[in-house]
């Protein structure tokens, strides 16, 4: 799954640690989501969407082969 998290974080000038604090997760979790190594759970995806005032679909896109 592709996502816009790194770009969105940069626009808000958050560090990975800042974003992790706001989401209540670890910095490693933010890092692995940004790198596409880990897909967040639905509750966490909703939390991210709420934080950036966007819909989940605007942040997370399915892989092109799906």
């Amino acid at each position: 799954m592709e996502n816009q998290l790194r770009i969105l974080r940069a626009t808000k000038k958050y560090s990975q640690a800042d974003l992790a604090e706001l989401l209540g997760v670890s910095r490693q979790t933010v890092n692995t989501i940004e790198n596409g190594k880990y897909d967040p759970s639905l509750p966490l995806a909703f939390k991210i969407a709420k934080l950036f005032e966007l819909s989940i679909e605007e942040i997370f896109k399915p892989d092109s082969n799906l």
Partner: protein, 139 residues
């Protein structure tokens, strides 16, 4: 900038607070029971009960680990769960291998040593999965 969030630091502090006294008690009881069982009491009915005494702090060690995992976030839980599954597979593989070798007269490896191997194997697998997921390269 700190590498860990406030929640992680609190969780780690809580873990140390719960884990450390339990593991120290376990180590002390291992030596104490060994010493006690060498005496006359080692031949009595109490021997089984005394031999099992180190299992009391072991319960608290396991409790501390389970509580730490429960406090972890979803990515960490996934890594811990995957590591547990991979460790189980490795231990099963090694167990069967040792069993087959023993069947043809190979060395008799103590079950106590075999189960002790679970911890180092688990930590190696956790470290490997963290590296594999790129979680060790935070920006």
């Amino acid at each position: 900038m700190s590498k860990y969030t406030k929640k992680e630091k609190e969780s780690s502090a809580q873990y140390v607070k719960e884990f450390l006294p339990a593991i120290i008690a376990y180590m002390l009881l291992i030596f104490a029971t060994k010493f006690i069982l060498k005496g006359e009491i080692g031949d009595s009915d109490w021997a089984y009960l005394i031999a099992l005494l180190p299992m009391v702090p072991t319960y608290f060690v396991m409790r501390a680990i389970v509580r730490f995992v429960n406090r972890s976030d979803e990515f960490f839980k996934k890594i811990f769960l995957e590591s547990g599954a991979v460790t189980l597979l490795i231990i099963t593989f090694l167990g069967f291998s040792i069993g087959l070798v023993q069947y043809v007269g190979g060395p008799d490896i103590d079950l106590f040593i075999a189960t002790t191997m679970i911890c180092p194997i688990y930590f190696i697998v956790v470290a490997y999965l963290f590296r594999k997921n790129g979680a060790d390269k935070c920006q």
